[in-house]
């Protein structure tokens, strides 16, 4: 269906329509995410700071520093938390996107997948920006937060983003069709952090437990991210980037299929 261009009377191609929708939604989301709430920026930076602070307090009490081999504990924890937050936000933020933008589907050009894609990209950019702030702040405070293998770290960061995007795409469609799914996803984000080896190093666990934990692609990606930051870090054996990307691409494909198949149902809710 050709869409009308309002200014020159010409007909826009579907690609042009999609691009202008993405641009408009991106600007809208950016404004409402970063400027509408006075404390938006504060929380974005304070939340990880508070998390890191709490865990450092807990871990120093039980003297956990020695268990991480080949890396300082605090940078190790910051990198892990940031990586996990990237995934978690990529998964959680899109869930409410369809419902929050229901009113926009009155404009024929806007599809349910548009707010989801825009939020995934925006969250990725914001998290990357915050991570950079943390890296710069950490280095200035004398922490070893400098990536030893920058390209490797970036690739791992990208893989976590893709993983979050896949989960976000799939769950946003599923949660809009079955609202209970959204609630369950919110509930599992904390346990997910525990089984992804964010706080307690996986190498501390028994071999059998490690094998179970290695079914979780987030754990793989976070270990890779740490490897990119700390060259001498001793990861568990058996982590595979291929596994992460297979998972990520499968989820992205599944999410897109769901959005395509149920586009009308998602709109009409």
């Amino acid at each position: 269906m050709p869409e009308a261009n309002s200014s020159n009377g010409g007909v826009r191609t579907p690609w042009q329509v999609a691009r202008s929708v993405w641009f408009a939604m991106f600007m809208r989301e950016t404004i409402s995410r970063t400027m509408a709430d006075r404390f938006a920026w504060f929380w974005m930076i304070f939340e990880p700071v508070a998390f890191v602070g709490i865990f450092i307090a807990i871990r120093t009490m039980i003297r956990g520093d020695r268990f991480v081999i080949g890396a300082d504990f605090i940078p190790w924890l910051i990198v892990g938390l940031m990586g996990f937050f990237l995934f978690r936000e990529g998964m959680n933020r899109p869930v409410g996107a369809i419902e929050a933008n229901q009113g926009l589907f009155a404009y024929r050009q806007v599809l349910p997948i548009d707010p989801v894609l825009v939020r995934i990209v925006l969250e990725g950019l914001l998290r990357t920006f915050i991570f950079l702030i943390f890296i710069v702040g950490g280095i200035m405070l004398g922490l070893d937060l400098y990536a030893d293998l920058p390209m490797f770290a970036m690739w791992a960061w990208l893989s976590l983003w893709a993983l979050g995007a896949g989960a976000g795409l799939t769950i946003s469609a599923a949660a809009a069709l079955v609202p209970e799914i959204g609630r369950v996803v919110k509930m599992i984000s904390l346990p997910l952090m525990l089984i992804s080896g964010v706080i307690i190093p996986m190498s501390l666990k028994s071999y059998h437990l490690q094998q179970l934990m290695l079914y979780n692609p987030i754990a793989h990606a976070i270990e890779f991210l740490r490897l990119g930051f700390f060259e001498n870090y001793k990861t568990v054996s058996g982590i595979s980037m291929l596994y992460v990307w297979m998972f990520a691409l499968a989820l992205i494909a599944l999410g897109m299929i769901l959005h395509l198949r149920f586009a009308e149902e998602l709109k009409a809710k």
Binding site: M1, A4, N5, S6, S7, N8, G9, R12, Q16, V17, S20, V21, F23, A24, M25, M27, R28, I31, S32, A36, D37, Q102, G103, L104, F105, A106, Y107, R108, Q109, V110, E264, K267, A268
Partner: protein
């Protein structure tokens, strides 16, 4: 031109899922404004949403061979935490046209909505009237071939209503309207053709008056003929009263005798009484139909 072929629509609820629209076939020619009439729940808004592409039919199709607006006065797409300007900017960007086009749309809306400095305040601080003004201005800022209106003209104060009507009149010839309204006066004024919806079926009338008459017939309302008569009589009485008042004022200005002035005053009183009676008759007719502007 808009073509509607074999359209079926129902909503899936828990138990109740009867057809809202059953086998609707219509061809709306280019440049013809159409009024949709029918009782509540007949599917008027549903048909409008389907024509606007906000909803998809179960069966059948809607072919839009022209630029069709979203329903005018739609406020659902506004984000409360963002300013009116930002919301307008968003819609303008969605519809493309580049930086210049977006700027032009914003200027048009700002000018039409007349909400002053509130344009740069968050939409959640708006009154419902201000919100409607913004939404209305937004629809008119784009050059659509067909505008959809679901009771859009019933919002706003007197001045804004007049302005909105004028805006539509200005577009006659360039654009047409498809409107749902229970205000029959405005339907008669704005539309040429009519679609009467009843029990899920649609019937096309080349004259809006015929569509309204068909609606009145099926709704078991009194024949609109006496109503029309009463309306005419009221109008006449009002004119007479005005004439009598003018005569009185003129006589006073010319310094006529007291006796003459007294007769004129009595005449005004009599005319006023007549008008009151006619109005009462009209109101008695209007009450059961209850759908005139």
């Amino acid at each position: 031109m808009i073509e509607v072929n074999g359209l079926y629509k129902r909503y899936h609820n828990h138990r109740y899922n009867d057809w809202v629209l059953k086998d609707v076939n219509l061809t709306i020619p280019r440049g013809v404004s159409v009024g949709l009439v029918g009782p509540n729940g007949a599917g008027k808004s549903t048909l409008l949403r389907l024509i606007g592409g906000m909803d998809t039919p179960e069966r059948g199709e809607v072919k839009r061979r022209c630029r069709v607006s979203w329903p005018i006065g739609l406020t659902g797409g506004f984000k409360g935490s963002m300013t009116g300007r930002q919301n307008v900017q968003f819609v303008a960007r969605v519809h493309g046209g580049g930086g210049q086009g977006v700027k032009r749309v914003i200027e048009l809306v700002e000018e039409f909505a007349e909400i002053g400095s509130a344009f740069d305040r968050p939409v959640q601080t708006y009154s419902s009237g201000m919100r409607s003004r913004l939404a209305f201005g937004l629809s008119l800022a784009f050059d659509f071939d067909v505008y959809l209106s679901d009771e859009a003209t019933s919002v706003g104060d007197r001045a804004f209503k007049a302005k909105a009507k004028q805006a539509f009149r200005d577009r006659v010839g360039k654009a047409s309207l498809i409107m749902v309204s229970h205000g029959e006066a405005i339907l008669r004024e704005m539309c040429q053709a009519g679609i009467f919806l009843y029990e899920g079926r649609a019937q096309w009338f080349d004259e809006i008056d015929d569509a309204i008459a068909a609606y009145h017939d099926t709704s078991g309302m009194p024949d609109p003929a006496p109503l029309r008569e009463a309306r005419k009589a009221t109008r006449k009485a009002r004119q007479e009263l005005r004439a009598a008042k003018a005569a009185h004022a003129q006589a006073q200005a010319e310094g006529a005798g007291q006796a003459h002035l007294d007769t004129l005053t009595a005449s005004i009183k009599r005319k006023r009484e007549q008008l009151r009676q006619h109005k009462a008759t009209l109101a008695a007719f209007k009450e059961p139909t209850d759908d005139d502007d």
